[in-house]
């Protein structure tokens, strides 16, 4: 009961904080006095509701969603494999180090321009999302692999526990917080970098293209509405992944 009350209190606190932010936004919009320069929250909601009724909105959102999610999931897969290889071999870690350091340090705009030279603009967000999420997944998982309990590995050796069982029941539960962290941080970054790539590359039918048009026509209402749609997609994807991971690990850990 106390826990439920505590949870409700936290929800109310957050709702109050959001309410405060919206009030500040509304006040600023009223102070500026121009819907072109700064649309109010009410105007943004109106534009978003209008967009929701248009089939082209869903097509545009779907275009970006598929590509950004594709890049993100590819980064999860490849990043995990690279971390596993680096965890198993110091030489592999050393060989990967310059590439991953370069990806982490280079401004995303440089990669976007380079990719525009190499790739089709329609595939740009896939690659940029992949590139930005890859080091996050790799670094988190490698840290998790390094932090595994050596004593449990010895136990597995003494009991001749098979590789598959060892990975699923001894390694994965130890990696759980690292996997959850990588997935959670990666989603937001994938959307930010993917949309940034689309704004620069302007692939036809993407969210980035609509944001670019909003800039050309000074339409902050559309800009905020598309931004809200992208943020909602990012949050929903993160929540869905979190639920999937919780379901998977809870089942794994509660099994007999």
């Amino acid at each position: 009961m106390r826990r439920i009350l505590e949870k409700q209190r936290r929800v109310l606190e957050r709702a109050a904080a959001i309410g405060f932010a919206l009030a500040v936004w509304q006040a600023l919009a009223a102070a500026v006095g121009s819907a072109w320069l700064l649309a109010s929250p009410a105007r943004t909601v109106c534009v978003l509701l209008d967009l929701l009724g248009q089939p082209s909105f869903w097509k545009t959102l779907g275009f970006s969603f598929v590509r950004i999610t594709g890049g993100y999931l590819s980064a999860l897969l490849i990043g995990s494999l690279l971390a596993a290889a680096a965890g198993a071999s110091r030489a592999v870690e050393l060989l990967l180090w310059p590439f991953l350091s370069a990806i982490k340090a280079t401004p995303v705009a440089s990669f976007i321009i380079l990719c525009l030279i190499w790739l089709n603009a329609r595939q740009l967000s896939v690659f940029i999302s992949f590139l930005m999420v890859l080091p996050i997944v790799y670094t988190n998982l490698l840290a998790g692999i390094r932090a595994r309990d050596v004593r449990l590995a010895e136990m597995a050796r003494v009991f001749s526990i098979g590789r598959g069982t060892r990975f699923v029941y001894i390694d994965l539960p130890q990696l759980r917080p690292y996997i959850e962290s990588a997935c959670s941080v990666g989603v937001g970054l994938a959307w930010k970098s993917g949309i940034a790539a689309e704004v620069i590359g302007i692939p036809t039918g993407s969210v980035g293209e609509r944001l670019y048009q909003a800039k050309i026509y000074f339409s902050t209402g559309e800009l905020f509405a598309w931004t809200a749609a992208a943020v909602l997609c990012s949050i929903l994807l993160e929540k869905a992944l979190r639920r999937l991971l919780t379901w998977f690990f809870d089942r794994l850990e509660a099994g007999v």
């Binding site: 449990l152 010895e154 009991f159 001749s160 069982t165 509660a254 099994g255 007999v256």
Partner: protein
Amino acid sequence: MSIVMDRVSKSFGERRVLREVSLALPDAGAVCLMAPSGAGKTTLARILLGLETPDAGTVAGVPARTAAVFQEDRLCERLTVCKNIRIACPRLSPQAVQAHLDEVGLSEYLRAPAGKLSGGQKRRAAIVRAVAADPAFLVLDEPFTGLDEETHARVIEYLRARTAGRSVLLITHDPRDAEALGAKTMALSAE
């Protein structure tokens, strides 16, 4: 064929832990290794289990099926007690695991996460895991740490009943444990 350790030496840096230790463990029956702290009992057990390589000397006859109760419990904290035992002995059904747990007074904890158990309960779960693995060679490194008198007696009874016919190496400070398990006592002098 019995397990034979012949003139085994082991050092960690400058510190010599074992010097030309020789021993033979029978195919069946318990042997108790007694020695003061720091005499190298655990190192000797780790060498027998293949977790350390001796600097000199040889070890022969260690069977493929080994199990151990380590000084620490070494349980996967997030997994249930049943799963902790079944990853070491996959052929054992949950019902069979329950029967083992009943014998050591852990009947209620089949589905409990190992991390939620008390120290004594974890110890018993680790003992069950080692025994249920049905090893040909079992190492018990101070297995009764943290057990109260009543539980201690119960676990001794469980070990007596379940390890008959196996090669068991018991490491302890208490000669009563060796006596209770019917183990032949061997001394290891400090280096």
